[in-house]
């Protein structure tokens, strides 16, 4: 009796271990080794909140449209001087890392007309979404309680928030981050 019980227990343990080991083996891509989290922010390590916002061209875009890419979301406005300061760098990043799977997305807290003429004048090459209340709320949902600009969030390929930053992005910091997550 005791022997039977023992054998059964061993069998169940072995079964569970087997399940676990094979699960770990097969789910390798889903469980990427996680670099130490950098920066601070309430959303780090969480799945990105969803949103659906209109682009300056009038189509609706949500983060799922870029699934599989590393997303750098940048909240900005044409009337925000620090935002304008960092945009050339964002364009450079998009050009430099596009082939490695980076997608920069700008979200403007602004009126569509100003954004359209800004995009045309400066030839902004990455997608720009625009809105007012909805953009503000998206920004808050992304951990930006006060809705300040510029505000940037880096989201890895699996949709997990890896970096949140208020203010002008520093070139060294972002390139180091991108080398970790791309």
């Amino acid at each position: 009796m005791m022997r039977q019980l023992l054998i059964t227990m061993v069998a169940i343990t072995a079964l569970l271990t087997g399940f676990y080991l094979s699960a770990r083996h097969f789910s390798e891509p889903a469980v990427t080794p996680q670099p130490a989290s950098i920066g601070t922010g309430p959303l780090l390590g969480n799945t990105r909140p969803d949103f659906q916002l209109a682009s300056h061209a009038g189509e609706f875009i949500s983060p799922a449209d870029y699934s599989g890419k590393t997303l750098l979301i940048n909240f900005w406005a044409t009337w925000c001087a620090p935002c304008r300061q960092e945009m050339p760098m964002l364009m450079d990043l998009q050009r430099q890392y596009a082939s490695s799977g980076l997608q920069v997305v700008g979200i403007a807290l602004d009126d569509a007309q100003s954004v359209r003429s800004f995009v045309q004048t400066y030839g902004i090459s990455y997608p720009i979404l625009v809105g007012s209340e909805d953009v503000f709320e998206t920004s808050v949902a992304y951990g930006n309680d006060e809705g300040v600009l510029p505000y940037s969030v880096l989201i890895d390929k699996t949709g997990v928030v890896r970096w949140q930053y208020a203010g002008i992005i520093q070139h060294d910091e972002i390139t180091k981050l991108l080398s970790d997550f791309l």
């Binding site: 399940f19 364009m91 203010g167 520093q170």
Partner: protein
């Protein structure tokens, strides 16, 4: 193209210089260092006469305000017209980045707002000041509205009426005394002010759905934050939806410990739910309580102010602020339980599998698993003399393994194809078939007949397996399989978590392993029970018959319990009544006890009588139209059929379109919405309806979160489309929609919740709006 290049060249240069500059300057802002707008740009306003209002901002170091298109001033006070604001010229500077001249104000900005006309009698003016500012070289705030109320001096010829506020009779007025705080001597020589002079209550309509309230405490007096409460008195169709109380000062009260209090002046936006309608006068009642510092406390006070609310053309959404309240959690920061579990499963599989196993053991003590106890023990007891402990163990193990594998496979299929197998099996015919089997099993327990296969078939089977073991092991496996599918359909958070993992990572194996660990956990108490049943059940004799009879009754109870998913209301009560009475009679409730009978006999008889009584109550309940067997006499007590009370607040919806329009309607009346997925076969849903939703505290919250219900009992294409849209595997699941009609994934609930827990969650949902 050329232009483009120039821009980039020019900017690259600028960028490099800036980067060099920035790298020497640590500008990284920690999240908790981002100050609130009102804290950085502190605004105040005064009016020395009825000609103009002076508005001034105190600007924190390192920040500035712009004079740009966002700088705007508005009032919604009836009878007041603002003139053109006089803004100091400032010093225009050319901003390279913006490509234009801008005017920035540091330290301080004072503007004067002329009042072009003020109706006589107006004493309070509400102001909405929109402005926009930045932290130098770091970030900018979005354009932000600040609300203020300004006191106007009375017109020269007018006497000073006590505003529009009429201090209503309070207890203090009636007794004309103040209450001395216990344990404190009056240390202040000055006589205490009457309550309505110590605390001045004023209110003004700010917009069609917002009232600004101002409380002024005289120096040395304070109000308790948690005692402030506002209600609209009378039957006006207006009601208070929420109150944005500012943060107070923490005061270490000798009696209550640290409490939050207000000294001086506070302004409180009070948001109103209303229907459309013309301008209307309403009464806003304030309940408050305060003290003189270190001295005396006043009893709770009630004052009412009459104010006129502007017309609302269409039903207005309750409150729409340009900024969320600072204490409101960002929606994204909260995570639902199953998301946490799913994330844990992905990051730490071994720990998570163990957690699932433990969760399974806990789940075993819920109505999901209860019904399996009589089935398994019935099978084991049914084996009679042939039962040994090891055999009981093997039978239980096989039963549990079959159940676990079924749960796992069903779960993985649900995850991969979004099809809920358990829901498919909740078909009246299948349920009916099973109920028949349970009844047959029960009768065989009572010894009416032996439940056996035709003897010819039995011999063949016996020959085939050469041992009687194989046959009953297969039987018990089949029972385990069917039990998992039909008897205990449960969508508990761990199950949902495993399914999310499967959906999100595509790792069916990991999700499956989690489900298996969960089900095995659920099986552990079952195995223990089965083994002890096998050990304890005597081999033969009258005792054996009694125990079999008990299992027989348990199986009948199970049949009734399952029948509840098909037949509702009084019929179930009647059946419970009949079962209870029959059991009572079986226990000898109606037989007389012979002289000198054993104590046991007397005990059984008393138990039988109790059952008899319970059964009678159930039948009375059935006759009076009750439909909750847990509370059979509820319908008699409340004097009306129960169901009208319990379901009244739930608006039923069916399709996605229904949902959209229902949520839109709810939003139009300024409420948030809640969608409850329900099915007749969902045990936990019925428990929620009975124990949780009916509670008065929940009903009160339902005034702000309108409950909708999707009945997915049929599980047809429309139901499935609805569930799939939100990734819901099956009931019980509750979704929330905010006042803009968007689903709030972080607040999803799966599983059963007690009233207080649920109330707390509803509060959180409201705060996150």
């Amino acid at each position: 193209m050329m232009k483009n290049k120039n821009f980039k060249g020019c900017f690259s240069l600028l960028l490099t210089t800036l980067l060099l500059f920035l790298s020497t300057l640590a500008t990284a802002i920690e999240f908790d260092e981002i100050r609130e707008y009102g804290d950085v740009f502190e605004v105040s306003a005064t009016a020395s006469d009825r000609q103009q209002i002076e508005v001034s901002w105190k600007i924190a170091d390192g920040f500035y305000l712009y004079n740009n298109k966002f700088l705007r001033f508005k009032t919604e006070t009836a009878g007041v017209i603002l003139g053109e604001a006089v803004i100091p010229p400032g010093k225009p500077v050319f901003d390279d980045l913006l490509g234009e001249e801008v005017i920035k104000f540091h330290d301080k900005l004072t503007i004067s707002l002329p009042l072009e006309s003020v109706a006589p009698g107006v004493e309070l003016v509400s102001l909405k000041l929109r402005s926009q500012g930045c932290m130098e070289d770091v970030f900018c705030y979005p354009p932000t509205d600040q609300l203020l109320v300004v006191n106007l001096p009375a017109a020269a010829q007018a006497t000073l009426p006590e505003a529009s506020s009429q201090a209503a009779t309070s207890l203090a007025d009636v007794f004309n005394t103040s209450v001395t705080a216990p344990g404190q001597d009056a240390i202040n020589d000055e006589p205490a002010l009457p309550a309505d002079e110590a605390f001045v209550y004023e209110a003004i309509s700010y917009s069609a759905e917002t009232i600004l309230v101002r409380f002024t405490s005289q120096p040395g007096y304070y109000l308790y934050r948690d005692k402030l409460n506002f209600t609209v008195s009378g039957d006006s169709g207006f009601e208070v939806s929420s109150v944005d109380l500012p943060e107070g000062t923490i005061k270490d009260d000798p009696e209550f410990g640290p409490v939050e209090v207000y000294f001086g002046l506070i302004e409180v936006p009070v948001h109103i739910n209303r229907t459309a309608g013309p301008e209307q006068t309403i009464s806003l009642q304030a309940d408050y309580q305060g003290c003189r510092d270190g001295d005396i406390c006043y009893p709770p006070q009630t004052s009412t102010v009459e104010l006129s609310m502007p017309a609302a053309s269409a039903p207005t959404p309750g409150k729409k602020q340009s900024k969320p309240p600072s204490d409101g959690q960002a929606t994204g920061a909260q995570q639902s339980e199953q998301d946490v579990l799913a994330k844990m499963l992905l990051s730490n599989p071994s720990g998570a599998l163990f957690a699932f196993f433990i969760a399974g053991i806990l789940l075993a003590f819920t109505p999901c698993v209860f019904p399996m106890v009589p089935i398994l023990s019935g099978i084991i007891a049914g084996q009679g003399e042939r039962m040994t402990t090891s055999r009981a163990f093997w039978l239980s193990l096989v039963y549990v393994l079959a159940m676990a594998v079924t749960y796992t496979v069903a779960g993985v299929l649900a995850g991969l194809f979004g099809q809920n197998l358990q829901a498919l099996f909740q078909n009246p015919w299948i349920l009916g078939f099973f109920i028949a089997i349970f009844i047959a099993l029960a009768f065989s327990m009572f010894g009416f007949f032996e439940l056996q296969l035709p003897s010819r078939l039995q011999t063949r089977l016996t020959e085939a397996s050469n041992q009687q073991k194989g046959g009953s092991l297969t039987g018990v496996a089949v029972m385990g399989f069917l039990s998992a599918l039909i008897v205990g359909p449960c969508v508990a958070p761990p199950l949902a978590a495993a399914l999310i993992v499967i959906g999100a990572s595509g790792s069916a194996l990991l999700g499956g392993a989690a489900l298996f660990a969960l089900s095995m956990g659920m099986g552990v108490p079952l195995i223990l029970f089965g083994v002890s049943a096998g050990k304890l059940v005597p081999k033969a004799g009258p005792w054996m018959d009694s125990i079999k009879a008990v299992f027989g009754i348990a199986l009948l109870a199970l049949a009734i319990w399952m029948l509840e998913r098909i037949v509702q209301g009084p019929v179930i009560l009647l059946l419970w009544g009949v079962l209870a009475i029959a059991s009572g009679v079986y226990l000898g409730a109606l037989e007389s006890i012979p002289q000198g009978a054993s104590g046991w006999k007397r005990l059984w008889k008393s138990l039988g009588l109790v059952l008899l009584l319970l059964g009678t109550i159930e039948i009375i309940g059935a006759a009076s139209g009750g439909d909750d067997w847990m509370k059979p006499l509820k319908s008699i007590r409340s004097g009306s059929p129960v169901n009208s009370v319990e379901h009244v607040t739930f608006q039923r919806i069916k399709s996605l379109d229904d949902l959209d329009s229902a949520v839109e309607r709810v939003n139009q009346s300024g409420q948030a919405a809640m969608l409850d997925f329900y099915a007749d076969w969902c045990v936990e849903c019925i428990r929620m309806e009975r124990n949780t939703f009916g509670e008065p505290e929940i009903q009160k919250l339902f005034a702000e979160i309108k409950p909708l219900q999707a009945d997915v009992t049929e599980n047809d294409n429309i139901d499935q489309a609805l569930m799939q849209k939100y990734g819901v595997i099956g009931p019980p699941a509750i979704l929330f929609f905010d006042r803009q009609g968007r689903e709030m994934p972080a607040f999803r609930l799966v599983g059963y919740f007690e009233a207080d827990e649920f109330a707390k969650h509803l509060q959180n949902v409201l705060e996150a709006q």
